[in-house]
């Protein structure tokens, strides 16, 4: 191994990758949510469909898609490697353990939360990304774009999907509440002056982003 | 036997430099051909092992703890003295030397103490270079405080954890040599015998405390840095594992044991709370700067207080006896450790002690809190008050603390010459394990200084002198002397395991401790000492008849470990009593009730007892033979201490 692979296969190196990919995925969430907010426009899905058409065809976006996939893959791969290593680090567990007295639930269950998010991601891709990218969407009359909006409406009339989406967003919120500030810690970006802000910002970010996403299925289920 | 202290000729201030020039050197290429064993990895041992490794010797280091970092040097709180004179308050090497000699009540060697004061300045430089985080001033330079009644501020400190930081510094230097392969470290390994070949120390026999395996290690020289023997008393401020076995077994192989009766009793410890008590906790003596020591004026009031019929607040001011202030108006509560300790015992003996057991006196901060306010007192002593509250569950801001003296340090130890070599060629003793620098009483912040002085700056020179005069030829552990020693160790272990009696090792240890405390503790007299000697012998006989040790040798066996140590304490205890009985004077920590001034102060006899009492082992149950090394004082005038 050369120094580069050695660095990023060390425990700290892998945590650094987790942090960088995690923060990158956070930025994706922002972009994604901003785009999705077009769903709330009372225009029969026009803005949303234009937006999704843009996302599907813009070459920069398409390139970034690969980066995004890589981000997910590295994040997931390192999570698996680290989890396996962490489990191996304690082959015999405690008969009686009270971790709730020294740490938060979310910080101890990032793997579980991440798995929920992964399941959600697959369902989500199946619901929207696959039809949008690989055909299966109806066209919109007199327009160049396809009607992803109608898929959204359809999906979010299904209470199982709505439930899954909302639960997943709660999981995501908890994942981010720990993950956001944790990323800064892993990168060594701590400072007496800024760390309290990062922690508060991270909390607000996690809650707001996930509220925003969760509002969409609820909105369609109850109001559309 | 003639004891040759090998003190170099010439003026005091030049002895060490001259000696360093005169000692023989080992050719750098030859150093790797010499093996040195260091037993114990506290300040004295870790510093020696690291430095000898740096010089190029092959070092094997041993400790009974799970890591060299655990040695009990780590528990030292106060600080380390050095004659740096950074505070420009008139300190000098000579002043540190003088204070230490006087503090030791003139029972230490001038030349050794002067060298200690000289190298004290190098220690601080060394530790700072290692990254030891000493306290600093805002300007970035090192801070000092005055300690233990010294008139100059020469004590360097790292909060209340100076010992910890110094030990971790030495441990880091040791680790570096372990990483280089120059030191091979054997943790959880206890030395059980010294091996001599042709009259020279050539190795040790050890027990692996995890597997029980008895192993031998050979070398060209052996350094014992195994600490003190305060645990003879069962209850002391020492660590639970601190023991005398390595030093004692070396003594049984011929090394003289010097001044064993010189033990230091520290006055400000947390009292015993029950017969389950396993050790005693010391609180810095700085508490006496603001706390007032008192007991009830009458036995009757004390009794009612002990029974819980009255509260301490119910005792009127005129019913309180601030006995130190009454007896020593000039020094008051700040009298030296030995005086404060002895008077606390006197009060309790009179029946005026406090606490449920009656074995405690009050240390009262009420006046200080009234005068300065609670925040000011908390700023000075907060951590000590917290520690007290944690252990006793009492709030010392509201109730006076209860304190009692406890065994803390042993000034006696293996006899060594100026080179720190015992009378056995090739066997060295450093730190608390030897007797050399503190006389009859050790001053505060001097133990850390001595341990590091010996390990960093003395042994590396003097051991070279010995090795250079000895061939590089190795002995193997197949040598009959090793086999014989191994067999003896195994036989002893088997004997302990086979007795299967009714009393536990701790039972015997507690009984011994009580005897030592009652008759060879803060105050001694001939009658009591003679009685104790008989009782110790009886107890020892009973031990070998009735001790219960379970399990086998070939395992981690905590009872067997303890049994070996207590077996040695039972022999050492008798020697301490012999030494106390022999020394018909009072000096420092040794107070013989027959020898006191009309004002109950220690009465030294410089005419007849200005010597080191070095004892030769002649067999268990036989009286040891006394060898005297006369102490010559050419640079200080002997005076009687007075604190009135």
């Amino acid at each position: 191994m050369n120094w580069f692979t050695k660095t990023f296969s060390s425990t700290i190196g892998r945590k650094i990758i987790m942090s960088i990919t995690g923060l990158f995925l956070c930025s994706f969430l922002v972009v994604h949510l901003v785009g999705n907010l077009t769903l709330f426009r009372q225009d029969g899905g026009e803005a949303f469909n234009i937006y999704s058409h843009f996302m599907a065809n813009n070459p920069i976006i398409r390139t970034m898609e690969f980066v995004l996939v890589a981000g997910f893959l590295f994040h997931i791969y390192d999570a698996i490697v680290l989890t396996r290593r962490n489990k191996a680090a304690r082959p015999v567990g405690y008969a009686n353990s009270h971790p709730e007295q020294n740490s938060t639930w979310s910080s101890r269950n990032m793997g579980l939360l991440g798995t929920i998010i992964l399941v959600f991601l697959l369902v989500h891709l199946w619901n929207f990304f696959v039809p949008a990218r690989f055909g299966g969407l109806e066209g919109v009359p007199n327009a160049e774009y396809l009607n992803l909006y109608s898929e959204v409406v359809l999906a979010f009339k299904n209470p199982i999907y709505v439930g899954l989406y909302v639960i997943s967003m709660i999981a995501l919120a908890y994942h981010l509440i720990h993950g956001f500030q944790s990323a800064f810690q892993s990168l060594g970006l701590t400072h007496k002056k800024y760390t309290p802000f990062i922690q508060k910002f991270g909390y607000a970010f996690s809650v707001l982003i996930c509220l925003g996403f969760a509002a969409i299925p609820l909105y369609f289920f109850f109001f559309v | 036997m003639i004891l040759d202290s090998k003190i170099p000729e010439g003026p005091l201030a030049e002895k060490w430099d001259k000696h360093k020039f005169n000692v023989k050197l080992v050719n750098p290429a030859n150093k790797r051909k010499y093996d040195v064993i260091v037993v114990g990895t506290g300040l004295a041992g870790a510093s020696a092992a690291a430095t000898l490794g740096e010089l190029g010797y092959n070092v094997k280091a041993f400790c009974f703890q799970d890591s060299p970092r655990r040695a009990h040097s780590i528990a030292a709180q106060g600080g380390i003295n050095a004659a740096k004179n950074y505070q420009n308050d008139g300190d000098s090497v000579f002043r540190l030397f003088y204070d230490t000699i006087k503090g030791g009540d003139y029972r230490a060697r001038e030349a050794n103490v002067y060298r200690l004061a000289q190298v004290s300045v190098n220690i601080i430089d060394q530790c700072v270079a290692q990254g030891v985080p000493f306290a600093r001033e805002y300007g970035g330079l090192l801070a000092n405080r005055s300690f233990g009644g010294a008139q100059v501020s020469r004590t360097f400190y790292a909060r209340g954890q100076t010992g910890q930081q110094l030990l971790l510094g030495a441990y880091s230097a040791l680790n570096r040599q372990i990483a280089y392969g120059k030191v091979k470290m054997y943790p959880r390994t206890e030395m059980l015998d010294l091996v001599m070949v042709d009259g020279k120390a050539r190795g040790i026999v050890v027990r692996n405390l995890v597997t029980g395996k008895i192993e031998s290690h050979s070398a060209h020289a052996v350094v014992l840095a195994t600490g003190g023997y305060g645990n003879v008393f069962f209850l002391s401020t020492n660590a639970m594992g601190s023991n005398a076995t390595a030093a004692w077994r070396a003594h049984k192989k011929g090394a003289l044991f010097a001044n064993p009766c010189f033990t230091q009793i520290h006055p400000t410890c947390i009292p015993v709370s029950g017969d389950y008590q396993s050790k005693l906790t010391l609180m810095s003596e700085s508490l006496r700067n603001d706390g007032r020591v008192w007991v009830p004026k009458t036995v009757e009031i004390a009794q009612r207080l002990r029974k819980g019929e009255i509260r301490v607040q119910d005792i009127k001011e005129e019913d309180r006896d601030y006995y130190l202030e009454r007896k020593y108006p000039a020094f008051g509560n700040l009298v030296p450790r030995d005086v404060a300790s002895r008077n606390a015992k006197l009060m309790c003996d009179e029946g005026r002690g406090v606490g449920a057991s009656g074995l405690a006196v009050f240390l009262d901060f009420a006046d200080a809190i009234k005068r300065e306010g609670q925040p000011a007192i908390a700023a000075k002593y907060g951590n000590l008050f917290d520690m007290y509250a944690k252990i006793t569950d009492e709030n010392p801001y509201e109730n006076p603390m209860r304190i009692y003296p406890a065994v803390h340090y042993t000034m006696g130890g293996l006899w060594v010459d100026y080179n720190l070599m015992t009378n056995i060629p090739g066997l060295y003793a450093t730190g608390e394990c030897n007797f050399s620098d503190h006389g009859a009483n050790r001053l505060g912040a001097s133990a850390l200084m001595q341990g590091l002085a010996d390990g960093y700056f003395v042994i590396p020179y003097t051991i070279g002198d010995y090795l250079a005069q000895n061939p590089t030829t190795k002995v193997t552990t197949d040598h009959p002397a090793f086999k014989e020693a191994e067999q003896a160790v195994i036989a002893k272990n088997n004997q302990l395991l086979s007795i299967n009696g009714t009393r536990t090792v701790d039972d015997f240890h507690k009984a011994l401790g009580l005897l030592m405390w009652d008759y060879c503790g803060m105050a001694r007299n001939a009658e009591g000492l003679k009685f104790a000697k008989q009782e110790i012998r009886k107890l020892r006989d009973e031990f070998w008849r009735d001790v219960k040790v379970v399990g086998v040798n070939e395992e981690l066996n905590i009872t067997l470990e303890k049994a070996n140590r207590v077996a040695d304490f039972l022999e050492l205890g008798e020697l301490m009593v012999d030494d106390a009985l022999n020394r018909n004077e009072s000096c420092g920590g040794h107070f013989r009730e027959e020898y006191q001034t009309p004002e109950n102060e220690a009465l030294r006899d410089d005419e007849n007892y200005a010597y080191v009492a070095a004892w030769e082992f002649t067999g268990v149950g036989n009286d040891a033979i006394l060898h005297k090394e006369d102490l010559k004082f050419e640079n200080v005038k002997l005076t009687q201490r007075s604190y009135k």
Binding site: N86, Y94, R108, S186, L189 | G140, K390, V550, T559
Partner: protein, 261 residues
């Protein structure tokens, strides 16, 4: 003989203790009743009482590590009722007193659990992995003698204090025991950041952090999940900030050091 509190009633307790003969043998929890425990006893003194009873009845006493019993040597361990060093924050097992328990309580006592801390016997574990990590670089490479005068290296008080905070680590391993990943990051980072902060240690800061982290990984400790359990359970209050400092030091060392292998 009662202690400081004459009204304190003795307690009867049930202990569930991990017993294991040696590294090779499987262990199990064994239940022991103990009676007449004074609230003024320390936790280890309570175990002493049990051990004396076991011994008198010819049974093997419970092996546990302990030495100074003043909270500074770091030798005592014990996972008590689901937490390293028991229920009191900022307290080592030897300084934990029985008054924090109640009559009739059941107390579980387990060894530190980590692949890197194999059990020697009962509650005694092998923490030599910590020593090996320190040997990998937890020092300033200077020999005895030939160093500058102590005051030739001025160090700002705030840095000296911060370095001291990191240097107070007692190496007990509670951080590893508390961490769900059995990670040693807090322990390692305390030494890395102490020396990285001080001018004496800066000289070889890069190799130090590279080597110590490499050794930490070799020993089989888990990775840091930033749960903070380590710092919460640390008996001497080593701060999580040290881990961030180490991460920073590691990243910059890896990016800029000349070790290409």
């Amino acid at each position: 003989m009662a202690g400081s509190n004459p009204n304190a009633k003795p307690m009867d307790l049930t202990l569930k203790v991990w017993r294991q003969k040696n590294r090779e043998t499987a262990g199990a929890m064994v239940t022991y009743p103990v009676k007449g425990i004074s609230p003024d006893m320390s936790f280890l003194e309570m175990l002493d009482v049990l051990n004396e009873d076991l011994l008198r009845s010819g049974q093997d006493p419970i092996a546990f590590d302990h030495d100074c019993r003043e909270g500074i040597c770091g030798m005592c361990s014990l996972y008590i009722n689901g937490r390293p060093h028991g229920p009191e924050r900022g307290t080592t097992t030897c300084q934990l007193h029985m008054r924090h328990f109640n009559d009739g309580d059941t107390i579980t006592i387990e060894p530190w659990r980590a692949a890197a801390f194999p059990v020697h016997k009962d509650l005694v574990v092998d923490r030599s992995a910590f020593d090996r990590i320190q040997q990998a670089g937890g020092y300033v490479s200077i020999n005895t003698g030939g160093v500058p005068d102590a005051n030739a290296i001025p160090i700002g008080k705030s840095i000296a204090d911060k370095a001291f905070d990191a240097a107070t680590c007692i190496g007990c391993g509670a951080c590893v025991a508390a961490c769900k990943n059995a990670s040693a990051m807090l322990f390692v980072s305390a030494k890395v950041s102490q020396l990285a902060m001080l001018p004496q240690g800066k000289v070889e800061a890069k190799t130090r952090v590279e080597n110590m982290v490499a050794q930490m990984d070799i020993e089989g400790f888990g990775a840091c999940s930033n749960t903070g359990a380590c710092a919460a359970e640390c008996p001497v209050g080593i701060s999580l900030e040290n881990i961030a400092i180490m991460n920073r030091e590691y990243l910059s060392a890896k990016a800029t050091s000349e070790h290409v292998a």
